[in-house]
């Protein structure tokens, strides 16, 4: 659940692209500009730090792998089906 709430790289990247195109169109109100720059700064900082700090990610992956070790992956029907086709 928390994974869905968390910002992804692609979301951050898309939002940054949008902000830069808005700013570069130069139709930005100064008040809005300040907000946009603030948001962009946050997104950039988020990406840069996430590239370098994965401690939480590692923990999450490890616990999920342990938790799901015995599961058969009920939610992964599509790929299982693919794999079963050829086994």
């Amino acid at each position: 659940m928390s994974r869905q709430k968390q910002l992804t790289y692609s979301q951050a990247s898309r939002e940054l692209q949008q902000i830069i195109s808005e700013i570069e169109s130069e139709n930005v109100d100064l008040d809005v500009l300040a907000e946009k720059v603030k948001r962009a700064t946050y997104l950039i900082k988020f990406c840069k730090s996430r590239l370098r700090d994965t401690e939480e990610e590692v923990k999450k992956v490890l616990t999920e792998i342990e938790d799901k070790a015995e599961e058969t992956g009920a939610g992964d029907g599509a790929s299982d089906k693919n794999q079963q086709d050829i086994t």
Partner: protein, 434 residues
């Protein structure tokens, strides 16, 4: 019965075996080239190699003969074979061998292998590989994995390798000590990377990763350089199918100099070595970050420009604003000045006009003053105290009093005709003091 057996001549088994041995060696005096498939292969501690050679027709064995390769021959033959094919001699392989046929009294018929021609096996492997590729094409799976989009940031990596595989350590070391300080999440899914069980083992790891694909961005299959043998599992149809159908993009770094294996062909991205895979992943992260940094730069310069422009505009506006009061004051002052000048000149005009008018009046008044009129030579004649304007009112003998500028004359009228009036008065002048 007894009699018969006494009369019959019979040879002993040993004699028979000897006969067969002779027959065989007579029939096959020379070594000959044979094509066969290896069904079994075992080496004993002394280095002698024992094989079962078979020929199959649609999975049915139609011929089977034992073969032996003595250690001194086997060492040379297997080395040459591995060098040429990249594979060690293994069951399932088709080979062309030079063999002498021999019959041993105890061990029976067997082929004694003197040489193996690796070019035949290479051709055979190439043909099989081609068949596998064609089949994958036909089934439409060959490009499946390549169609998956590469993740924007390949940070979470499922690794299929063996802890004992060469290059495994290098791979992780390189990822973990990259110069940009990026952190990767990498989880090892151990598999055998060579030998007969490698194929099944790698497939099992791929299946495990598929079930946990949401935890990862990418899967890599790595196997270090060093040994160049036993790559045949990477040419297998089954493994290729699993790689192609993997829900995660698969990157291979199988570590070989030769042609790509089928696994490389179906993988999303093929790299020569584990080190190259690590570089690829790091560069993927770098590319993403450079994109972010470029946007950061653009935002910085663009915002700077906008703020500068806005500052200029404010300056201009404030400058204009600061001019307005002085301009206003100036124009108001000008108007006031003009007004006051106007007023002044008007007042002056007014005064002048008034003066002129008064002057005129004075003059007129002066000119009209009876004294002045008298001084210019006019005179006033009165009759009975009244100013006389009409001569006809005078009768002969009337007394007239004429006032001059200087003094007065009293006269008596003599002639009353108007045209002779002057003469009368002239006469009167002759009587000063009258």
């Amino acid at each position: 019965m007894e009699k018969l057996s006494i009369n019959r001549t019979a040879c002993s088994l040993y004699e028979l075996a000897g006969l067969i041995k002779t027959a065989v060696s007579d029939s096959f005096p020379e070594s000959l080239w044979v094509i066969a498939e290896i069904a079994e292969l075992k080496c004993n501690p002394k280095g002698h190699c024992y094989l079962e050679l078979v020929e199959k027709n649609k999975d049915q064995t139609v011929a089977q003969i034992k073969a032996t390769c003595w250690s001194y021959e086997y060492r040379r033959i297997s080395r040459t074979f591995e060098k040429a094919t990249g594979e060690s001699l293994n069951p399932g392989m088709k080979i062309m061998l030079l063999a002498s046929v021999a019959f041993h009294e105890v061990y029976g018929l067997s082929l004694n292998i003197r040489d193996i021609d690796p070019t035949y096996t290479m051709g055979e492997m190439a043909r099989r590989k081609k068949e596998v590729i064609e089949r994958l094409h036909k089934e439409g799976v060959i490009g499946l994995n390549r169609e998956l989009p590469l993740p924007l940031v390949p940070q979470k990596i499922a690794v299929i390798s063996s802890k004992t595989a060469a290059g495994y350590g290098d791979f992780f070391h390189q990822l973990d000590t990259n110069p940009y300080g990026y952190r990767f999440v990498h989880i090892l899914f151990p598999a055998l990377m060579q030998g007969r069980e490698a194929e099944a083992s790698i497939i099992s790891s791929l299946l495990q990763i598929s079930k946990k694909r949401r935890l990862f961005d990418i899967a890599v299959i790595i196997r270090g350089g060093g040994s160049v043998t036993d790559l045949s599992c990477f040419d297998s149809y089954e493994l290729a199918c699993h790689i192609a159908r993997s829900p995660l993009p698969v990157i291979t770094g199988i570590g070989h100099e030769k042609d790509d294996t089928v696994a490389d062909i179906v993988a999303h991205t093929r790299m020569k070595t584990p080190t190259a895979v690590a570089e690829f992943l790091i560069s993927g992260m770098r590319e993403f970050e450079e994109g972010i940094l470029e946007i950061q730069q653009r935002i910085h310069s663009c915002t700077g420009r906008i703020l500068r422009d806005e500052g200029y505009r404010l300056d201009r506006v404030s400058q204009r604003l600061s001019f307005i009061p002085s301009q206003l004051a100036l124009s108001a002052g000008n108007r006031l000045e003009m007004l006051s000048k106007d007023l002044e000149s008007r007042i002056r005009d007014c005064f002048r006009n008034e003066r002129n008018r008064q002057g005129g009046m004075e003059q007129a008044i002066r000119l009209l003053d009876p004294a002045q009129v008298l001084r210019r030579g006019y005179s006033i004649t009165r009759h009975k105290g009244k100013i006389l304007r009409d001569a006809s009112l005078i009768r002969k003998g009337d007394t007239l009093r004429t006032t001059l500028s200087n003094g007065a004359i009293t006269s008596i009228a003599k002639i009353t005709e108007e045209d002779k009036g002057h003469e009368q008065t002239e006469t009167a002048y002759l009587l000063p003091g009258f």
